[in-house]
Point group: C2
Chain length 299, copies 2
Amino acid sequence: MNLLIIGSIALDSVENPFGKVEEVLGGSAVYASIAASCFSKNISIVGVIGNDFPNEYLELLKTKNIDIKGVKIANGKTFRWKGKYENLNEAITLQTSLNVFANFSPKIPEKQKLSKYILLGNIDPDLQISVIDQLKKPKIIAADTMNFWIKSKNKSLKKLLKMIDILFINEDEIRMLTDSASIFDAAEKTFKIGPKIIVIKRGEYGSITIAKNFLFFVPVFPLKNAIDTTGAGDSFAGGFMGFLTSEKKLDEQTLKKAALYGTITASFDIESFSLDSLKKMDKEKIETRVNLLKKYTQF
Amino acid sequence: MNLLIIGSIALDSVENPFGKVEEVLGGSAVYASIAASCFSKNISIVGVIGNDFPNEYLELLKTKNIDIKGVKIANGKTFRWKGKYENLNEAITLQTSLNVFANFSPKIPEKQKLSKYILLGNIDPDLQISVIDQLKKPKIIAADTMNFWIKSKNKSLKKLLKMIDILFINEDEIRMLTDSASIFDAAEKTFKIGPKIIVIKRGEYGSITIAKNFLFFVPVFPLKNAIDTTGAGDSFAGGFMGFLTSEKKLDEQTLKKAALYGTITASFDIESFSLDSLKKMDKEKIETRVNLLKKYTQF
Protein backbone atom coordinates (compact mmCIF):
# COMPACT_ATOMS: atom_id res chain seq x y z
CA MET A 1 0.00 0.00 0.00
CA ASN A 2 1.11 3.58 -0.50
CA LEU A 3 0.81 6.67 1.67
CA LEU A 4 0.33 10.17 0.31
CA ILE A 5 1.17 13.04 2.66
CA ILE A 6 0.17 16.65 2.04
CA GLY A 7 1.38 19.50 4.18
CA SER A 8 3.91 22.22 4.75
CA ILE A 9 7.60 22.09 3.97
CA ALA A 10 9.30 24.74 6.04
CA LEU A 11 12.43 26.30 7.36
CA ASP A 12 12.01 26.66 11.11
CA SER A 13 13.80 28.87 13.60
CA VAL A 14 13.27 27.70 17.15
CA GLU A 15 14.44 29.02 20.49
CA ASN A 16 13.88 27.25 23.81
CA PRO A 17 15.64 26.74 27.16
CA PHE A 18 17.85 24.07 25.54
CA GLY A 19 19.16 26.11 22.64
CA LYS A 20 18.45 27.82 19.39
CA VAL A 21 18.39 26.81 15.72
CA GLU A 22 17.91 28.93 12.60
CA GLU A 23 16.22 27.98 9.34
CA VAL A 24 16.38 24.24 9.87
CA LEU A 25 14.24 21.64 8.10
CA GLY A 26 10.64 21.47 9.30
CA GLY A 27 7.02 21.44 8.21
CA SER A 28 4.20 18.97 8.75
CA ALA A 29 4.74 17.02 5.51
CA VAL A 30 8.44 16.64 6.27
CA TYR A 31 8.06 15.46 9.86
CA ALA A 32 5.22 13.10 8.95
CA SER A 33 6.92 11.57 5.91
CA ILE A 34 10.27 10.97 7.61
CA ALA A 35 8.38 9.45 10.56
CA ALA A 36 6.34 7.22 8.24
CA SER A 37 9.36 6.14 6.21
CA CYS A 38 10.41 3.66 8.89
CA PHE A 39 7.20 1.72 8.38
CA SER A 40 6.50 1.97 4.67
CA LYS A 41 8.73 2.21 1.60
CA ASN A 42 5.95 3.64 -0.54
CA ILE A 43 5.47 7.23 0.54
CA SER A 44 5.03 10.37 -1.50
CA ILE A 45 4.61 13.96 -0.43
CA VAL A 46 2.92 16.95 -1.97
CA GLY A 47 3.96 20.45 -0.98
CA VAL A 48 5.66 23.57 -2.15
CA ILE A 49 9.14 25.02 -1.64
CA GLY A 50 10.86 28.16 -2.82
CA ASN A 51 13.97 28.18 -5.00
CA ASP A 52 16.01 28.92 -1.87
CA PHE A 53 15.27 25.50 -0.39
CA PRO A 54 18.53 23.72 0.50
CA ASN A 55 19.15 20.75 -1.76
CA GLU A 56 20.51 18.65 1.10
CA TYR A 57 17.01 18.62 2.61
CA LEU A 58 15.52 17.26 -0.60
CA GLU A 59 18.29 14.68 -0.65
CA LEU A 60 17.35 13.59 2.86
CA LEU A 61 13.78 12.92 1.76
CA LYS A 62 15.07 10.93 -1.22
CA THR A 63 17.38 8.78 0.89
CA LYS A 64 14.31 7.87 2.92
CA ASN A 65 12.62 6.60 -0.28
CA ILE A 66 10.11 9.42 -0.17
CA ASP A 67 8.75 10.30 -3.60
CA ILE A 68 9.03 14.09 -3.99
CA LYS A 69 7.55 14.43 -7.50
CA GLY A 70 4.63 16.25 -5.90
CA VAL A 71 6.88 18.89 -4.34
CA LYS A 72 6.53 22.03 -6.45
CA ILE A 73 9.44 24.43 -6.63
CA ALA A 74 7.92 27.92 -6.90
CA ASN A 75 9.61 31.21 -7.59
CA GLY A 76 10.19 32.89 -4.26
CA LYS A 77 11.13 31.98 -0.74
CA THR A 78 10.23 28.84 1.21
CA PHE A 79 7.69 29.03 4.05
CA ARG A 80 9.36 30.08 7.29
CA TRP A 81 8.20 29.71 10.88
CA LYS A 82 9.87 31.21 13.92
CA GLY A 83 8.85 30.14 17.39
CA LYS A 84 9.87 30.26 21.00
CA TYR A 85 9.15 27.81 23.80
CA GLU A 86 9.28 28.88 27.43
CA ASN A 87 8.70 25.26 28.40
CA LEU A 88 8.53 22.12 26.27
CA ASN A 89 4.81 22.26 25.73
CA GLU A 90 3.73 25.65 24.49
CA ALA A 91 5.09 27.23 21.33
CA ILE A 92 4.78 30.97 20.95
CA THR A 93 4.82 31.93 17.28
CA LEU A 94 7.17 34.86 16.78
CA GLN A 95 6.88 35.06 13.02
CA THR A 96 5.16 33.27 10.16
CA SER A 97 6.34 34.08 6.64
CA LEU A 98 4.09 32.12 4.29
CA ASN A 99 6.11 33.10 1.19
CA VAL A 100 5.43 30.56 -1.61
CA PHE A 101 3.10 28.65 0.74
CA ALA A 102 0.62 31.57 0.50
CA ASN A 103 -0.39 30.41 -2.98
CA PHE A 104 -0.11 26.69 -2.31
CA SER A 105 -2.71 24.77 -4.26
CA PRO A 106 -1.91 21.08 -3.93
CA LYS A 107 -1.74 19.35 -7.28
CA ILE A 108 -1.57 15.59 -6.92
CA PRO A 109 0.56 13.84 -9.59
CA GLU A 110 -1.47 11.35 -11.69
CA LYS A 111 0.15 8.28 -10.13
CA GLN A 112 -0.48 9.53 -6.58
CA LYS A 113 -4.16 10.12 -7.27
CA LEU A 114 -4.51 6.36 -6.84
CA SER A 115 -3.00 6.45 -3.32
CA LYS A 116 -4.83 4.31 -0.81
CA TYR A 117 -3.73 5.97 2.45
CA ILE A 118 -3.79 9.73 2.74
CA LEU A 119 -2.52 12.02 5.49
CA LEU A 120 -3.68 15.60 5.18
CA GLY A 121 -1.34 17.67 7.31
CA ASN A 122 -2.60 20.67 9.22
CA ILE A 123 -3.34 23.19 6.42
CA ASP A 124 -6.39 25.21 5.32
CA PRO A 125 -9.37 22.79 5.27
CA ASP A 126 -10.33 24.07 1.81
CA LEU A 127 -6.97 22.84 0.53
CA GLN A 128 -7.44 19.54 2.35
CA ILE A 129 -10.81 19.16 0.58
CA SER A 130 -9.24 20.04 -2.78
CA VAL A 131 -6.81 17.15 -2.28
CA ILE A 132 -9.61 14.69 -1.54
CA ASP A 133 -11.43 15.86 -4.68
CA GLN A 134 -8.42 14.80 -6.77
CA LEU A 135 -8.19 11.29 -5.32
CA LYS A 136 -9.49 8.32 -7.27
CA LYS A 137 -9.89 5.42 -4.85
CA PRO A 138 -8.71 6.36 -1.37
CA LYS A 139 -9.07 3.71 1.31
CA ILE A 140 -8.26 5.66 4.50
CA ILE A 141 -8.13 9.45 4.69
CA ALA A 142 -6.68 11.05 7.82
CA ALA A 143 -6.45 14.74 8.61
CA ASP A 144 -4.87 16.95 11.21
CA THR A 145 -6.20 20.38 12.08
CA MET A 146 -5.75 23.17 14.62
CA ASN A 147 -7.57 25.90 16.59
CA PHE A 148 -6.86 28.50 13.88
CA TRP A 149 -9.00 26.60 11.33
CA ILE A 150 -11.67 25.73 13.90
CA LYS A 151 -12.18 29.45 14.40
CA SER A 152 -11.54 30.92 10.95
CA LYS A 153 -12.78 28.14 8.64
CA ASN A 154 -15.32 26.31 10.72
CA LYS A 155 -17.72 25.58 7.86
CA SER A 156 -15.00 24.19 5.58
CA LEU A 157 -13.58 22.17 8.43
CA LYS A 158 -16.96 20.56 9.14
CA LYS A 159 -17.31 19.76 5.44
CA LEU A 160 -13.85 18.14 5.56
CA LEU A 161 -14.79 16.11 8.63
CA LYS A 162 -17.57 14.43 6.65
CA MET A 163 -15.01 13.26 4.08
CA ILE A 164 -12.33 11.74 6.32
CA ASP A 165 -11.89 8.52 8.29
CA ILE A 166 -9.35 9.55 10.93
CA LEU A 167 -9.02 12.87 12.71
CA PHE A 168 -5.88 13.89 14.62
CA ILE A 169 -6.66 16.70 17.03
CA ASN A 170 -5.46 18.19 20.33
CA GLU A 171 -7.68 17.86 23.39
CA ASP A 172 -8.23 21.62 23.70
CA GLU A 173 -9.11 21.78 20.03
CA ILE A 174 -11.72 19.01 20.07
CA ARG A 175 -13.32 20.70 23.07
CA MET A 176 -13.36 23.96 21.11
CA LEU A 177 -14.69 22.26 17.97
CA THR A 178 -17.67 20.77 19.81
CA ASP A 179 -18.10 23.20 22.69
CA SER A 180 -17.71 20.33 25.19
CA ALA A 181 -16.09 20.18 28.61
CA SER A 182 -15.30 16.46 28.39
CA ILE A 183 -13.13 15.01 25.64
CA PHE A 184 -15.35 11.91 25.56
CA ASP A 185 -18.43 14.04 24.93
CA ALA A 186 -16.42 15.94 22.36
CA ALA A 187 -15.49 12.71 20.60
CA GLU A 188 -19.15 11.57 20.55
CA LYS A 189 -20.19 14.85 18.94
CA THR A 190 -17.34 14.66 16.42
CA PHE A 191 -18.30 11.13 15.39
CA LYS A 192 -21.72 12.51 14.46
CA ILE A 193 -20.05 14.92 12.03
CA GLY A 194 -18.00 12.28 10.24
CA PRO A 195 -14.74 10.60 11.16
CA LYS A 196 -14.88 7.03 12.46
CA ILE A 197 -11.59 7.22 14.34
CA ILE A 198 -10.43 10.14 16.48
CA VAL A 199 -6.93 10.43 17.87
CA ILE A 200 -6.88 12.98 20.68
CA LYS A 201 -3.39 14.29 21.34
CA ARG A 202 -2.73 15.37 24.93
CA GLY A 203 0.81 16.71 24.74
CA GLU A 204 2.99 15.35 27.54
CA TYR A 205 0.10 13.13 28.68
CA GLY A 206 0.02 11.00 25.54
CA SER A 207 -2.98 10.22 23.38
CA ILE A 208 -6.38 8.58 23.33
CA THR A 209 -7.58 6.79 20.22
CA ILE A 210 -11.35 6.51 20.10
CA ALA A 211 -13.62 4.60 17.73
CA LYS A 212 -17.00 2.91 18.11
CA ASN A 213 -16.75 0.67 21.20
CA PHE A 214 -13.03 1.26 21.20
CA LEU A 215 -10.80 3.30 23.45
CA PHE A 216 -7.04 3.13 23.77
CA PHE A 217 -4.73 5.16 25.98
CA VAL A 218 -1.01 5.53 25.31
CA PRO A 219 1.28 7.64 27.48
CA VAL A 220 4.15 9.62 26.05
CA PHE A 221 7.37 7.62 26.01
CA PRO A 222 9.35 9.03 28.97
CA LEU A 223 12.55 10.78 27.91
CA LYS A 224 15.44 12.08 29.96
CA ASN A 225 16.59 14.31 27.13
CA ALA A 226 13.49 16.00 25.75
CA ILE A 227 14.76 18.94 23.70
CA ASP A 228 12.17 20.29 21.30
CA THR A 229 8.57 19.28 20.68
CA THR A 230 8.27 21.02 17.30
CA GLY A 231 6.84 18.46 14.88
CA ALA A 232 5.81 15.98 17.58
CA GLY A 233 2.17 15.92 16.45
CA ASP A 234 3.18 15.49 12.81
CA SER A 235 5.66 12.75 13.71
CA PHE A 236 2.94 11.02 15.71
CA ALA A 237 0.54 11.17 12.74
CA GLY A 238 3.31 10.04 10.38
CA GLY A 239 4.22 7.03 12.52
CA PHE A 240 0.55 6.18 13.00
CA MET A 241 -0.30 6.35 9.29
CA GLY A 242 3.00 4.79 8.21
CA PHE A 243 2.22 1.77 10.33
CA LEU A 244 -1.39 1.54 9.07
CA THR A 245 -0.11 1.66 5.49
CA SER A 246 2.19 -1.27 6.18
CA GLU A 247 -0.72 -3.39 7.43
CA LYS A 248 -3.61 -4.67 5.40
CA LYS A 249 -6.24 -4.45 8.10
CA LEU A 250 -7.75 -1.91 10.44
CA ASP A 251 -8.84 -4.06 13.37
CA GLU A 252 -8.53 -3.08 17.03
CA GLN A 253 -5.07 -4.56 17.50
CA THR A 254 -3.78 -2.73 14.41
CA LEU A 255 -5.25 0.54 15.65
CA LYS A 256 -3.62 0.06 19.05
CA LYS A 257 -0.26 -0.62 17.43
CA ALA A 258 -0.62 2.45 15.21
CA ALA A 259 -1.16 4.65 18.29
CA LEU A 260 1.80 3.00 19.95
CA TYR A 261 4.10 3.54 16.97
CA GLY A 262 2.82 7.11 16.75
CA THR A 263 3.91 7.87 20.30
CA ILE A 264 7.28 6.13 19.89
CA THR A 265 7.95 7.98 16.64
CA ALA A 266 7.15 11.31 18.30
CA SER A 267 9.59 10.45 21.11
CA PHE A 268 12.46 10.37 18.61
CA ASP A 269 11.42 13.73 17.19
CA ILE A 270 11.46 15.33 20.65
CA GLU A 271 15.03 14.30 21.37
CA SER A 272 16.53 16.95 19.12
CA PHE A 273 15.86 20.16 17.25
CA SER A 274 14.55 19.70 13.71
CA LEU A 275 14.77 16.09 12.46
CA ASP A 276 18.28 15.36 13.73
CA SER A 277 17.11 12.49 15.91
CA LEU A 278 14.03 11.46 13.93
CA LYS A 279 16.01 10.87 10.74
CA LYS A 280 18.24 8.39 12.61
CA MET A 281 15.29 6.39 13.91
CA ASP A 282 15.25 2.78 12.74
CA LYS A 283 13.20 -0.36 13.36
CA GLU A 284 15.52 -1.67 16.03
CA LYS A 285 15.45 1.57 18.03
CA ILE A 286 11.67 1.68 17.68
CA GLU A 287 11.21 -1.86 18.96
CA THR A 288 13.46 -1.20 21.97
CA ARG A 289 11.18 1.64 23.01
CA VAL A 290 8.01 -0.35 22.27
CA ASN A 291 9.26 -3.05 24.64
CA LEU A 292 10.01 -0.49 27.33
CA LEU A 293 6.60 1.13 26.92
CA LYS A 294 5.10 -2.34 27.25
CA LYS A 295 6.82 -2.71 30.62
CA TYR A 296 5.58 0.72 31.67
CA THR A 297 1.93 0.08 30.82
CA GLN A 298 1.15 -3.65 30.80
CA PHE A 299 0.06 -5.48 33.91
CA MET B 1 -1.94 -7.75 57.56
CA ASN B 2 -3.54 -4.60 58.92
CA LEU B 3 -3.72 -1.06 57.61
CA LEU B 4 -3.72 2.01 59.85
CA ILE B 5 -4.99 5.24 58.31
CA ILE B 6 -4.51 8.66 59.86
CA GLY B 7 -6.14 11.78 58.50
CA SER B 8 -9.03 14.15 58.60
CA ILE B 9 -12.67 13.32 59.26
CA ALA B 10 -14.74 16.14 57.91
CA LEU B 11 -18.10 17.55 56.99
CA ASP B 12 -17.79 18.92 53.46
CA SER B 13 -19.91 21.42 51.60
CA VAL B 14 -19.29 21.30 47.87
CA GLU B 15 -20.69 23.25 44.97
CA ASN B 16 -19.94 22.52 41.31
CA PRO B 17 -21.66 22.64 37.90
CA PHE B 18 -23.44 19.35 38.74
CA GLY B 19 -24.98 20.38 42.04
CA LYS B 20 -24.47 21.27 45.64
CA VAL B 21 -24.21 19.36 48.91
CA GLU B 22 -23.98 20.65 52.48
CA GLU B 23 -22.12 19.13 55.41
CA VAL B 24 -21.74 15.67 53.93
CA LEU B 25 -19.24 13.03 55.02
CA GLY B 26 -15.68 13.69 53.90
CA GLY B 27 -12.06 13.87 55.03
CA SER B 28 -8.92 12.04 53.90
CA ALA B 29 -9.13 9.27 56.51
CA VAL B 30 -12.75 8.59 55.60
CA TYR B 31 -12.26 8.45 51.83
CA ALA B 32 -9.10 6.35 52.16
CA SER B 33 -10.53 3.86 54.66
CA ILE B 34 -13.80 3.27 52.80
CA ALA B 35 -11.76 2.84 49.60
CA ALA B 36 -9.38 0.39 51.29
CA SER B 37 -12.18 -1.59 52.93
CA CYS B 38 -12.93 -3.41 49.67
CA PHE B 39 -9.46 -4.96 49.75
CA SER B 40 -8.74 -5.56 53.41
CA LYS B 41 -10.92 -6.44 56.38
CA ASN B 42 -8.35 -5.24 58.87
CA ILE B 43 -8.40 -1.47 58.76
CA SER B 44 -8.36 1.07 61.55
CA ILE B 45 -8.48 4.84 61.46
CA VAL B 46 -7.19 7.53 63.76
CA GLY B 47 -8.73 10.98 63.68
CA VAL B 48 -10.84 13.43 65.60
CA ILE B 49 -14.49 14.43 65.40
CA GLY B 50 -16.62 16.90 67.33
CA ASN B 51 -19.65 15.91 69.37
CA ASP B 52 -21.84 17.14 66.51
CA PHE B 53 -20.64 14.37 64.18
CA PRO B 54 -23.65 12.45 62.82
CA ASN B 55 -23.81 8.94 64.23
CA GLU B 56 -24.90 7.49 60.88
CA TYR B 57 -21.46 8.34 59.47
CA LEU B 58 -19.72 6.42 62.25
CA GLU B 59 -22.10 3.55 61.57
CA LEU B 60 -21.09 3.55 57.91
CA LEU B 61 -17.43 3.12 58.89
CA LYS B 62 -18.37 0.28 61.23
CA THR B 63 -20.41 -1.57 58.59
CA LYS B 64 -17.27 -1.50 56.45
CA ASN B 65 -15.37 -3.28 59.25
CA ILE B 66 -13.27 -0.21 59.93
CA ASP B 67 -11.99 -0.06 63.49
CA ILE B 68 -12.81 3.41 64.85
CA LYS B 69 -11.34 3.05 68.35
CA GLY B 70 -8.72 5.60 67.35
CA VAL B 71 -11.35 8.21 66.47
CA LYS B 72 -11.41 10.71 69.32
CA ILE B 73 -14.63 12.55 70.07
CA ALA B 74 -13.62 16.01 71.27
CA ASN B 75 -15.74 18.73 72.74
CA GLY B 76 -16.61 21.13 69.96
CA LYS B 77 -17.47 21.04 66.32
CA THR B 78 -16.17 18.69 63.62
CA PHE B 79 -13.73 19.96 61.00
CA ARG B 80 -15.59 21.56 58.09
CA TRP B 81 -14.45 22.30 54.55
CA LYS B 82 -16.37 24.28 51.99
CA GLY B 83 -15.26 24.30 48.36
CA LYS B 84 -16.34 25.21 44.89
CA TYR B 85 -15.33 23.70 41.57
CA GLU B 86 -15.67 25.65 38.33
CA ASN B 87 -14.61 22.51 36.47
CA LEU B 88 -13.95 18.98 37.72
CA ASN B 89 -10.28 19.50 38.37
CA GLU B 90 -9.66 22.55 40.46
CA ALA B 91 -11.19 23.07 43.88
CA ILE B 92 -11.42 26.60 45.22
CA THR B 93 -11.53 26.55 49.01
CA LEU B 94 -14.26 28.89 50.22
CA GLN B 95 -13.96 28.16 53.91
CA THR B 96 -11.95 25.94 56.24
CA SER B 97 -13.17 25.64 59.83
CA LEU B 98 -10.62 23.49 61.63
CA ASN B 99 -12.70 23.33 64.84
CA VAL B 100 -11.61 20.27 66.90
CA PHE B 101 -9.07 19.40 64.18
CA ALA B 102 -7.03 22.47 65.22
CA ASN B 103 -5.79 20.60 68.31
CA PHE B 104 -5.56 17.18 66.68
CA SER B 105 -2.68 15.21 68.11
CA PRO B 106 -2.96 11.66 66.81
CA LYS B 107 -2.81 9.11 69.61
CA ILE B 108 -2.47 5.60 68.29
CA PRO B 109 -4.28 2.92 70.37
CA GLU B 110 -1.90 0.28 71.81
CA LYS B 111 -3.11 -2.45 69.47
CA GLN B 112 -2.71 -0.27 66.36
CA LYS B 113 0.87 0.64 67.25
CA LEU B 114 1.71 -2.81 65.86
CA SER B 115 0.17 -2.01 62.46
CA LYS B 116 2.24 -3.15 59.51
CA TYR B 117 0.86 -0.89 56.78
CA ILE B 118 0.37 2.79 57.46
CA LEU B 119 -1.24 5.50 55.37
CA LEU B 120 -0.59 9.01 56.63
CA GLY B 121 -3.24 11.22 55.05
CA ASN B 122 -2.45 14.76 54.03
CA ILE B 123 -2.03 16.55 57.38
CA ASP B 124 0.73 18.62 59.03
CA PRO B 125 4.01 16.70 58.52
CA ASP B 126 4.84 17.17 62.22
CA LEU B 127 1.72 15.20 63.07
CA GLN B 128 2.61 12.58 60.46
CA ILE B 129 6.03 12.23 62.13
CA SER B 130 4.42 11.98 65.57
CA VAL B 131 2.41 9.01 64.30
CA ILE B 132 5.51 7.24 63.00
CA ASP B 133 7.21 7.80 66.38
CA GLN B 134 4.42 5.84 68.06
CA LEU B 135 4.65 2.81 65.75
CA LYS B 136 6.40 -0.34 66.90
CA LYS B 137 7.16 -2.43 63.83
CA PRO B 138 5.80 -0.79 60.67
CA LYS B 139 6.47 -2.58 57.39
CA ILE B 140 5.35 -0.01 54.81
CA ILE B 141 4.68 3.64 55.60
CA ALA B 142 2.97 5.77 52.97
CA ALA B 143 2.22 9.47 53.15
CA ASP B 144 0.29 12.03 51.18
CA THR B 145 1.11 15.72 51.27
CA MET B 146 0.23 18.99 49.52
CA ASN B 147 1.61 22.36 48.36
CA PHE B 148 0.58 24.04 51.64
CA TRP B 149 3.01 21.87 53.67
CA ILE B 150 5.74 22.07 51.02
CA LYS B 151 5.71 25.85 51.51
CA SER B 152 4.93 26.25 55.20
CA LYS B 153 6.58 23.16 56.75
CA ASN B 154 9.32 22.31 54.31
CA LYS B 155 11.84 21.20 56.94
CA SER B 156 9.39 18.91 58.71
CA LEU B 157 8.21 17.52 55.39
CA LYS B 158 11.77 16.64 54.37
CA LYS B 159 12.29 14.95 57.74
CA LEU B 160 9.10 12.97 57.14
CA LEU B 161 10.26 11.93 53.65
CA LYS B 162 13.30 10.23 55.19
CA MET B 163 10.96 8.08 57.31
CA ILE B 164 8.50 6.83 54.70
CA ASP B 165 8.47 4.20 51.95
CA ILE B 166 5.77 5.51 49.62
CA LEU B 167 4.94 9.10 48.75
CA PHE B 168 1.66 10.13 47.11
CA ILE B 169 2.00 13.55 45.53
CA ASN B 170 0.54 15.66 42.71
CA GLU B 171 2.74 16.45 39.72
CA ASP B 172 2.75 20.19 40.40
CA GLU B 173 3.66 19.52 44.01
CA ILE B 174 6.62 17.25 43.30
CA ARG B 175 7.93 19.88 40.87
CA MET B 176 7.54 22.49 43.60
CA LEU B 177 9.14 20.24 46.22
CA THR B 178 12.27 19.70 44.13
CA ASP B 179 12.30 22.84 41.98
CA SER B 180 12.29 20.69 38.81
CA ALA B 181 10.63 21.21 35.44
CA SER B 182 10.40 17.49 34.66
CA ILE B 183 8.50 15.09 36.91
CA PHE B 184 11.13 12.41 36.24
CA ASP B 185 13.91 14.71 37.45
CA ALA B 186 11.69 15.59 40.39
CA ALA B 187 11.25 11.90 41.22
CA GLU B 188 15.03 11.31 41.06
CA LYS B 189 15.61 14.17 43.49
CA THR B 190 12.88 12.95 45.81
CA PHE B 191 14.33 9.43 45.91
CA LYS B 192 17.53 10.99 47.24
CA ILE B 193 15.58 12.43 50.17
CA GLY B 194 13.99 9.15 51.18
CA PRO B 195 10.96 7.32 49.78
CA LYS B 196 11.57 4.28 47.59
CA ILE B 197 8.26 4.49 45.76
CA ILE B 198 6.66 7.67 44.44
CA VAL B 199 3.14 7.81 43.10
CA ILE B 200 2.68 10.96 41.05
CA LYS B 201 -0.97 11.90 40.68
CA ARG B 202 -1.83 13.78 37.47
CA GLY B 203 -5.53 14.51 37.93
CA GLU B 204 -7.54 13.62 34.85
CA TYR B 205 -4.39 12.21 33.22
CA GLY B 206 -3.96 9.37 35.71
CA SER B 207 -0.84 8.48 37.64
CA ILE B 208 2.75 7.39 37.33
CA THR B 209 4.25 5.04 39.90
CA ILE B 210 8.02 5.26 40.02
CA ALA B 211 10.59 3.15 41.86
CA LYS B 212 14.17 2.11 41.11
CA ASN B 213 14.17 0.74 37.55
CA PHE B 214 10.40 0.77 37.63
CA LEU B 215 7.87 3.00 35.93
CA PHE B 216 4.17 2.39 35.51
CA PHE B 217 1.55 4.58 33.84
CA VAL B 218 -2.16 4.23 34.53
CA PRO B 219 -4.77 6.49 32.93
CA VAL B 220 -7.85 7.62 34.76
CA PHE B 221 -10.75 5.24 34.22
CA PRO B 222 -12.98 7.07 31.70
CA LEU B 223 -16.36 8.03 33.13
CA LYS B 224 -19.45 9.38 31.42
CA ASN B 225 -20.85 10.62 34.71
CA ALA B 226 -17.99 12.30 36.55
CA ILE B 227 -19.64 14.42 39.25
CA ASP B 228 -17.21 15.45 41.98
CA THR B 229 -13.49 14.82 42.37
CA THR B 230 -13.39 15.66 46.10
CA GLY B 231 -11.57 12.79 47.80
CA ALA B 232 -10.24 11.26 44.57
CA GLY B 233 -6.62 11.40 45.70
CA ASP B 234 -7.48 9.92 49.10
CA SER B 235 -9.57 7.19 47.47
CA PHE B 236 -6.67 6.43 45.14
CA ALA B 237 -4.27 6.14 48.09
CA GLY B 238 -6.80 4.06 50.03
CA GLY B 239 -7.34 1.62 47.17
CA PHE B 240 -3.59 1.44 46.55
CA MET B 241 -2.71 0.76 50.19
CA GLY B 242 -5.74 -1.48 50.77
CA PHE B 243 -4.57 -3.70 47.95
CA LEU B 244 -0.94 -3.74 49.18
CA THR B 245 -2.17 -4.73 52.65
CA SER B 246 -4.06 -7.68 51.17
CA GLU B 247 -0.89 -8.96 49.46
CA LYS B 248 2.18 -10.32 51.15
CA LYS B 249 4.71 -9.04 48.67
CA LEU B 250 5.82 -5.80 47.09
CA ASP B 251 7.14 -6.94 43.73
CA GLU B 252 6.63 -5.10 40.45
CA GLN B 253 3.41 -6.87 39.53
CA THR B 254 1.93 -6.10 42.95
CA LEU B 255 2.90 -2.46 42.64
CA LYS B 256 1.29 -2.25 39.20
CA LYS B 257 -1.90 -3.79 40.52
CA ALA B 258 -1.94 -1.39 43.46
CA ALA B 259 -1.77 1.59 41.07
CA LEU B 260 -4.50 0.02 39.00
CA TYR B 261 -6.80 -0.55 41.97
CA GLY B 262 -6.02 2.98 43.12
CA THR B 263 -7.28 4.47 39.89
CA ILE B 264 -10.36 2.26 39.75
CA THR B 265 -11.22 3.07 43.37
CA ALA B 266 -10.92 6.80 42.63
CA SER B 267 -13.27 6.37 39.66
CA PHE B 268 -16.06 5.24 41.99
CA ASP B 269 -15.48 8.22 44.24
CA ILE B 270 -15.79 10.64 41.33
CA GLU B 271 -19.21 9.35 40.28
CA SER B 272 -21.02 11.08 43.12
CA PHE B 273 -20.79 13.77 45.76
CA SER B 274 -19.35 12.60 49.09
CA LEU B 275 -19.04 8.79 49.36
CA ASP B 276 -22.43 7.93 47.88
CA SER B 277 -20.92 5.92 45.05
CA LEU B 278 -17.68 4.85 46.75
CA LYS B 279 -19.52 3.18 49.64
CA LYS B 280 -21.40 0.99 47.15
CA MET B 281 -18.23 -0.18 45.42
CA ASP B 282 -17.67 -3.94 45.62
CA LYS B 283 -15.19 -6.46 44.27
CA GLU B 284 -17.36 -7.34 41.29
CA LYS B 285 -17.77 -3.73 40.21
CA ILE B 286 -14.04 -3.20 40.65
CA GLU B 287 -13.11 -6.19 38.50
CA THR B 288 -15.49 -5.09 35.73
CA ARG B 289 -13.63 -1.79 35.50
CA VAL B 290 -10.21 -3.44 35.77
CA ASN B 291 -11.11 -5.58 32.76
CA LEU B 292 -12.25 -2.55 30.81
CA LEU B 293 -9.10 -0.64 31.68
CA LYS B 294 -7.15 -3.66 30.51
CA LYS B 295 -8.84 -3.37 27.11
CA TYR B 296 -8.12 0.36 27.01
CA THR B 297 -4.39 0.03 27.74
CA GLN B 298 -3.09 -3.43 26.82
CA PHE B 299 -1.82 -4.21 23.35
